[in-house]
Every structure is written in C-alpha cells, then in structure tokens.
C-alpha cells in the first residue's frame, strides 16, 4: 500500500472511461427505475382511492412486502429466482439481452413504488377534510376539486418525502453491482483492482455520489420552497 496520493493515476485514460461508463449506467438505472416507480405508485394510489376493500388490502400487501424485505434480497429474487419460473425457452431468449440491467430496473422500480405510494397517500391524508367540503360546497365537482384544491396541496405535502426516497433510490443503484450490473460502484472496484489504489478510487466514487445526492436534495429543497411560499408563513 503506497502512501502517496495520486489521483491522476485513477483518472487516466481507460480508468476514466470505466468510471464515466459506470456513472452513465448508474444514472440510467436510477432514471428508469424512478419513472417505473412513479408511474406504478400513481396507479397504486388511484387503486387505493377507489375504496374497494380487496384492492386496498392487495396494495397494502404489496407495500408491506417491499418495505420489509431487504432491497438486495428483492434484486436476487428477480435476477436469480424469477427467470427460473419462466421456463427454458424464455430463459434462452433472455440470455441475449442485458438481463442484469433490466431486472435491476424492475426490482428497484417496484421497491421504490411502494415508498412513493405511501408518501403520496400520506400527503393526501394530511389535507384537512374541510378542504374537500369547502370546494364541493362552492359547486366545484370531483375533478375540479381535485385539480384546483386537493392535488396542489397534496403535492406540497408529499414533496419532502418523495425527494428523500428519490435520493434513496439513487443510492440503491449501487446494490445492482451484486448481480453484475456495471454501475459506478462496480466500476470503482474494477479500477481499484487494476491500479491497487483503493483510496483514490473510492474517493472519486464517493465524491460523485455526494455531488448527485446533494444536487437532488438541493433541487428538491428549492422545489419545496417554491411551492411552500404560500404555506410556509
């Protein structure tokens, strides 16, 4: 282990390429998983809002599963377990594609959907019941009440939690390395293996993760402040 600090050694040529590719993969993974999670969460919340008891229980079970089972185990379940169920021919077909990435997006997206669903639901529940009554008493129908009175307040309420969980999603992309996805953490280990410079490699990865996390948190705080101009006083 050398005591000299040589950042350049890690950022040279092919290593830099590895790291950049890793960052790209991480960002793609995070983006696709986020979109899947958000879409699914909105669907789940809508299902819960219909009031159907069975649907409500099913969604609750979905959320419960994804919040109580470790994310890594969920990833393993999707990557190792699910293909096993699909039968020989599907497995052969899948082998031609980048299944690690695909299953990571699915696993992370489905997991985060559970968190987003609860955030949105809490945000809506935090709105005082009088708001619905007041808007309906004015003659605004269900859709208009939702659009002009309920949803604007709901969004403001759930924004902080949504931002926190988005950062969580971003950090969880590192778990994909356990099933072979070549995202940033995986790339960092590769570079470390080639250069034997653990400190510098880890430092680069840490800084990159920090920068993106802080950007997400900062951006979120700005968004929250913009919306809360009215409510903050």
């Amino acid at each position: 282990m050398t005591h000299d600090f040589d950042l350049a050694a890690v950022l040279r040529g092919e290593y830099a390429e590895l790291i950049v590719k890793g960052i790209e993969t991480t960002l793609q993974l995070a983006l696709y998983a986020w979109l899947l999670a958000m879409a699914l969460a909105l669907l789940l919340v809508t299902v819960r809002l219909t009031g159907n008891k069975l649907a409500d229980r099913l969604v609750a079970a979905y959320v419960s599963y994804h919040r109580n089972v470790p994310t890594l185990v969920q990833l393993m379940m999707w990557y190792f377990g699910v293909p096993n169920l699909l039968g020989e021919s599907t497995q052969m077909a899948l082998a031609n594609y980048n299944t690690e990435f695909l299953f990571s997006v699915i696993a992370l997206g489905l997991c985060q959907a559970a968190y987003f669903c609860e955030d949105i639901r809490s945000g809506l529940r935090a709105i005082p019941g009088g708001q619905t009554e007041a808007s309906r008493a004015l003659g605004l129908g269900y859709i208009r009440s939702m659009r002009y009175v309920i949803l604007p307040q709901g969004v403001r309420n759930c924004l902080p939690s949504l931002i926190n969980h988005t950062v969580l999603l971003f950090k969880n992309t590192s778990l994909a390395m356990a099933i072979g996805v070549m995202e940033l953490t995986y790339a960092t280990r590769e570079v470390e293996n080639y250069t034997f410079r653990a400190f510098e490699s880890y430092l680069v990865a840490t800084v990159v993760y920090l920068v993106f996390s802080l950007l997400l948190m900062g951006g979120g705080a700005l968004l929250a402040r913009h919306f809360n101009k009215a409510l903050a006083r």
């Binding site: 109580n68 890594l72 379940m77 096993n84 950090k171 880890y202 840490t206 993760y209």
Partner: protein
Amino acid sequence: MFDIFSILQNNWTLFLIGQYPHGPLGGLANTLILAALALLLAFPCGLLLALARVSPWKGLRWAATVWVYVLRGIPLLMVIFWTYFLVPLLLGHNITGFMTMLCTLVIYQSAYLCEIIRGGIQALPAGQYEASRALGFGYMRTTIWVILPQALYNTLPSLISQFISIIKETSLGYVINVQELTFAANQVNNQLLTKPFQVFLILAVIYYLLCFGLTQLAGWVERRIARKRMGSGLQTVAPDAVLAIDN
C-alpha cells in the same frame, strides 16, 4: 413449488445458525446479533452527534452536520468498502468480515440515529427548555435531566424502525462474505442449483416475518406513547427530575 418445505426441512440449520458448530456462527442468528450490536453501539454515537448538532457551539455543529450529510449522501456499499479498507490500516491488522460490517453499520446508522434523536429533541415544546432555564438549570443539566428523557422516550418507535432498517442492511454483508442470513441462502442455492426461486422465497419470507413483526411492535409502542402523552396532559418528566437534583 412444494419443494419449499423439503428445502426448509433439509437446510433449516443453515438458515438459522449457519455452519455452526462445524464453522462460525451464521444465518439468522448472526444477522440478529450483528443488528443488535450495531444498534447498541450506534445509539451513543448518534446521541453525541445529535447533541453536537443542536449545541450552541458553531464548530461542533458544523462538523456534525458535515458528517451526517456525507453519510446520508453515499450508498451503504461505499461505506462498507471504505471501512474494509481503512479500519485495518488504522488498527494495523486485518479484521473479520463481521467486524467490518459492524463498524460500517455503526458509522452509517450514527448519522440516521442522529437525525431521529435531533428530531425528537426539537419536537419538544420550547417551553420545556425555557422553564428549566428559568428554574436555574444550566444548558448541560437542562439537556440531561429535562430534554433527553422526554426526547428519547418519544423517539422509541423510530428507534425500533431503525432496528428494522439495520436488519435489512445486514444483508449487504453478503457482498463481503459475512456469514449472515442472505449469505446462508446463497450457500443453499449454490448447493441445490435448480431451485433458486424457492430458496429466495424462503429468504424473503424470513426477513418479512421478522421485519413485519417488529413493525407491528413499533406501532404498538407508538400508540402506547400517544395514549400516555395525551392522557397525562401536563405531566412531564421535569418535576421528578428537579426533585432528584435537589436531593
């Protein structure tokens, strides 16, 4: 599909206690020990960090804040690798995977526990602090005798939630070959090879039962605290604490 029961029957010791006594303790037992130790050790660290973050001394506040933000901004996996790399350097000799994982969890969770405890402290009405100071207690005494007892009691449900998070985080020990539950499941899978779905289903169910059970406990504690706080109204810990000091 019904292989699940036979798999469980043949391998339950591996899931439960790893290769013990033919090897080190592993499986669910090790997971629980790891998680419990991590919570026990992380708690005082989190407490000190929380006190630092609310203290009136700027440098201390700033240092603690930076620590918390850094740890909350990077993945747990990165912290594992950092610990794996730095701790042997600091100690001069190698450490086991278990110790690495333990140190990682303590460091990582100290940041989250800090925020929880800090939240508990700041959620107390300002009047508690003012009343105590008005009685003549200094900052330190106020914190120890008035603020902390109430804050820590109120954060009990969140602490249980964090314990659940720690249990889930122990699964990452798999990446550095720590003999915990996920590692045990992978061992079983590597032996059987043809039934990954069943093996991982068993794994998921074990974690689910454990964490779900603890979640119910946390909910029960939360309801109990809410009842106590609402029912007793103005009664707080402060009066007893004052009497204790006078004696």
